[in-house]
């Protein structure tokens, strides 16, 4: 049940997310951007107040609530000055943990009590306590958009496996304690059917993190290249043999909606900062906001932001009610990404020289939003998907 459905609880959640951001994030964000990563401690603090586990069953160590609460939290955090980079790094488990939870449920259904307990005690709970960082490794150096063609392979060795190959652009991959990696298991079939998710331990022999990647934006979110040379994987770390692609596809909708929220929330933040700026800043003896072209630009920024928000909210509500909305989620992402790119650009423009400076917040958003149209389904790939689903 969505906490956000009750106005008082929603206000409390928004308050919490804003306070947490103001106390625990914004004072340190510049340092973390320079460090290239978030401190682990932040995960623990976020877990302590229940932010890490929103939308996850309390029986599994989550905080309860549902996806609407995740949306409200993300909006509030970005609105209070967190960044897309913070969201991606602090909530990396949001794209990785669902696969572990899916396997947990499969094991419970199959009466594999030990197997289920293992996942719960060794991964799910520690991740939600903020003690363990979990990444999702799908993309490979020679391809990310087409998941069905990935080449990292698992070989069977008796009951166990060894994994060889490479992953790249892996969020939180530098800090990760476990990586849910998509690997090819030829025995389960070809293409999509031949993909399995396995949990890899960076401490294993053959596992290397050759590079922390330097990026245009999302600086506080570490991104890694990973190399696997016969990394051993125990059967209990195999998250459903041959079920990898289906599991990934299952969570595409929530992943795309989450990115849409990051996008329009960032747009809203840029708009708020720019409105304040336009009221204060004078050129040619008058405040910027007194110029019609500036006011109209602000309206354009607002229009795009609000349309993206209202559409995403509507799709989110229907998604929570159990509808399958693959095309709509793709469109929400596209719409919000377009809004964010336009608004961040206009924000920098209206800030003038200051907008180009590291010290202004809009400069960071301008760089941070650029990835949103690439990761989690590139814009063209989304468009093509919708074309197919609509029969065009």
């Amino acid at each position: 049940m969505s906490v956000s459905a009750d106005p008082q609880s929603r206000k409390a959640l928004v308050d919490l997310a804003q306070k947490f951001t103001g106390r625990e994030i914004t004072p340190f964000l510049t340092t973390w951007e320079t460090d290239g990563m978030l401190p682990r401690d932040l995960h623990r603090r976020a877990a302590d107040v229940g932010l890490l586990g929103i939308g996850i069953d309390p029986k599994l160590g989550g905080s309860g609530g549902d996806f609407a609460d995740v949306v409200a939290m993300t909006e509030a955090m970005i609105g209070a000055g967190a960044s897309g980079g913070v969201i991606s790094a602090l909530f990396t488990h949001g794209i990785a943990l669902p696969h572990v939870i899916d396997e947990y449920h499969r094991r419970v259904d199959a009466a594999d009590v030990d197997g289920a307990d293992y996942l719960l005690a060794q991964t799910i709970e520690p991740v939600l306590r903020g003690e363990m960082i979990l990444s999702l490794g799908v993309t490979e150096p020679d391809g990310g958009s087409d998941v069905s063609r990935l080449r990292t392979r698992a070989e069977r060795v008796n009951e166990s496996w060894t994994v060889s190959g490479a992953k790249t652009y892996i969020t939180s991959g530098v800090r990760a304690d476990r990586v849910v990696a998509a690997v090819r298991t030829p025995e389960t079939g070809e293409g999509a059917a031949g993909i399995t998710l396995m949990m890899l331990d960076p401490a294993s022999p053959g596992y290397a993190t050759p590079r922390a990647l330097a990026k245009m934006g999302w600086w506080c979110s570490d991104t890694a290249e990973l190399a696997f040379n016969e990394v051993p994987v125990a059967p209990r770390d195999v998250l459903g043999l041959g079920l990898g692609f289906a599991s990934l596809a299952n969570h595409f909708v929530s992943e795309r909606l989450s990115l849409a929220v990051t996008a329009y929330a960032t747009a809203q933040r840029c708009l708020d900062l720019t409105e304040a700026w336009a009221k204060n800043r004078e050129t040619f003896g008058r405040p910027l906001i007194s110029r019609q072209i500036v006011r109209h630009t602000l309206v354009d920024m607002y229009r795009r932001t609000d349309v993206a928000r209202v559409y995403t909210h509507a799709i989110t509500d229907r998604y929570i009610n159990g509808e399958q909305l693959i095309a709509e989620a793709a469109l929400a992402k596209q719409t919000a990404v377009e809004a964010a790119e336009f608004v961040a650009n206009a924000a920098v423009q209206l800030h003038g020289g200051m907008g180009y400076m590291r010290e202004s917040e809009v400069e960071r958003h301008y760089r941070d939003v650029r990835v949103l149209g690439i990761g989690g389904g590139a814009t063209e790939v989304m468009t093509d998907l919708v074309a197919r689903l609509r029969g065009y």
Binding site: L16, V49, G50, I54, S63, G64
Partner: protein, 259 residues
Amino acid sequence: MKIAVCVKQVPDTWAEKKLRDDDSTLDREAADGVMNELDEYAVEEALRLAEANGGEVVVVTMGPERAAETVRKALSMGADAGVHLVDDSLHGSDALATSYALAEVLAARNFDLVIFGSESTDARMSVVPAMVAERLGLPQVTFAQKVDVDGSKVAIQRQTEYGYDDVEAELPAVVSVVEKINEPRYPSFKGIMAAKKKPVETLTVADAGLDAAKLGATAAWTKVASFAARPPKAAGTVVTDEGDGGAKIATYLTEQKFV
């Protein structure tokens, strides 16, 4: 140990406050209501004491329907239950009436410790904790910057201008706390979820067995006869220095009786 925390909903500290034209009381509708900031410290202290010594924390408020939000906030921080005294006839109550109503509600519930914030940001009288203690016939250990409970005793450091005094009392007792005492937690998400299910007892004046004649604007010991907005800042006097600036300033200061 059974601890009561008295909290008050006040207009948002940053909002512009207005008086109502009809009865010269604070216009509580004009601004968002929030928990009085010092009361957050009181709730935090109550929760810490209950966590350290075992026990139950009951949050008590008197206020309009909207004040239920403030009760809910304290519950989401971790308090166990709430009591909300709400009645149209309470409107306009002064500190004497408020202390009477709170004391009656508290007396009926046998608390070991009652904790207050040391003042509210709207009225800023700082007298309700002391008045309640007096009415309950309990020791008052107020303006605490540190509180320890040991068996049947409560020991506090009372903040003073020169440092602090150590003050002790037997339980039950009334404590008020100052900002220095702790850092209030924010409600966790679990707390927010749990708060909806926690019991809140809503009482009318009649339910609480209060004498309506002692409450509300008509019973108030003081009345606001009239009020006016603070005049805007005057432009001030500009002294132009034509070689005699110093003398002119001295004349001005003498005229204003500063020197």
